[in-house]
């Protein structure tokens, strides 16, 4: 007898927990649970009280305020621009570091290369290729001279700066990666 009463109490507890969750909506319960509610005065009372409680809380939530939405929407664009600028700063800084590192290690490219860049003609391209070749020779010579004249530790440091700059570029690019795939809601 005691075991039966305990079972009923436990069943009531489970059903009343569900009624709390469903805001007293008996229709959301299973058929067996609905029958129990119909037959059990305690659970019926809880169902009615939960429904009334749900209505009270529904009324207690203040109406939507369009000014909040308007305020948020007005702030989105400036925030986005600021965020892009902020995101670009480490990229720009690391690119600058990489260039400085490359210049320190490889030397400054000759001005002739830059002046010959425009033009899609065959002559233009051969001039560019010639310039690149000249630049390669010049940088090789400068690098060899620099190796002889500059402390190898300094060159290593410059190389490291270049690599760190590159790593920062890669890290920043990874932050921009699109989010995917979405977890399915259960």
């Amino acid at each position: 007898m005691i075991a039966e009463e305990a079972h009923v109490a436990s069943e009531c507890q489970t059903i009343q927990e569900a009624l709390s969750e469903y805001r007293g909506e008996v229709v959301r319960l299973g058929a067996t649970e609905r029958q129990h509610v119909d037959a059990c005065p305690g659970c019926s009372e809880v169902a009615a009280a939960e429904m009334a409680l749900g209505l009270i809380f529904r009324e207690a939530v203040a109406p939507a305020d369009p000014s909040v939405v308007a305020g948020v929407m007005a702030a989105l664009r400036p925030v986005r621009i600021r965020r892009r600028v902020v995101a670009f700063v480490p990229v720009a800084a690391s690119l600058l570091l990489a260039v400085v590192g490359a210049v320190l290690v490889g030397g400054v490219p000759g001005s002739g290369v830059v002046s010959l860049l425009p033009g899609w003609s065959t002559q233009g391209w051969s001039a560019v290729l010639g310039g690149v070749s000249d630049w390669y020779s010049a940088t090789s010579t400068v690098a060899a001279a620099a190796t002889a004249a500059i402390d190898p530790a300094f060159l290593a440091a410059a190389g490291m700066i270049g690599l760190i700059g590159l790593a920062v570029v890669v890290a920043t690019a990874r932050r921009w990666r699109k989010i995917s795939p979405w977890r399915k809601s259960d």
Binding site: A60, A62, V68, L76
Partner: protein, 194 residues
């Protein structure tokens, strides 16, 4: 800002994807979807509806700024409410720090601090039934803190039990049990109205 019915029907996940692609209207749909509930939740948390509006605006802007860092393993709703909750708690801490203590001497001759209640704007001020509003305010205030937070998330934030479990990092069964107990207290305290 064009409000399209199509956008309003999309899931949170899809809207966040569109927002990440720079679609401000998609984010606007999320703002419209959660603004009322977020403001109501914050209103109960900080006890001032005007402040709650400011904080919910701030929460949406912060969420937009940090959208790229949003972890898709979680729901947008719980992430947004966590941002708002942290903002609310930060505000309450600052307010506590700014409180000026007034002292009086009690009957035993000891000096005790008098806390002056702030003239907050009532987050239940829109309720026509003032007796109900006052009783509800009282009952919520008197709930045990662990129940109170769950009640606010459920009934003012409109979160499901599953979302609350995720937000609180608590087993679903615990959420169900605690809310059931909290409801028992609420039902008794509001018996006149239910």
């Amino acid at each position: 800002m064009a409000v399209t019915g199509k956008t309003e029907k999309l899931s949170d996940e899809r809207l966040v994807e569109l927002a990440l692609d720079g679609d401000e209207d998609a984010y606007g749909a999320l703002v419209r979807r959660y603004q009322r509930r977020l403001t109501a939740f914050l209103g109960q948390l900080v006890g001032d509806i005007e402040l709650a509006r400011e904080l919910s605006q701030e929460a949406f802007i912060r969420a937009w700024s940090a959208l790229e860092r949003f972890d898709p393993r979680y729901r947008f709703s719980t992430w947004l409410f966590r941002i708002a909750h942290n903002l609310g708690i930060d505000h309450l801490r600052r307010r506590r720090l700014q409180t000026v203590g007034l002292y009086r001497t009690d009957s035993d001759g000891d000096e005790v601090e008098v806390v002056v209640a702030a003239l907050d704007k009532d987050p239940l001020g829109h309720l026509e039934n003032r007796a109900l509003a006052e009783e509800l305010h009282q009952v919520i205030d008197n709930l045990r803190p662990e129940y109170r937070e769950l009640v606010l998330l459920r009934h003012f934030g409109g979160l499901s039990y599953q979302e609350i479990a995720e937000f609180k990092e608590m087993p679903l069964g615990t959420v169900k049990n605690k809310l059931f107990r909290a409801h028992s207290v609420l039902r008794k305290a509001l018996a006149v109205f239910v």
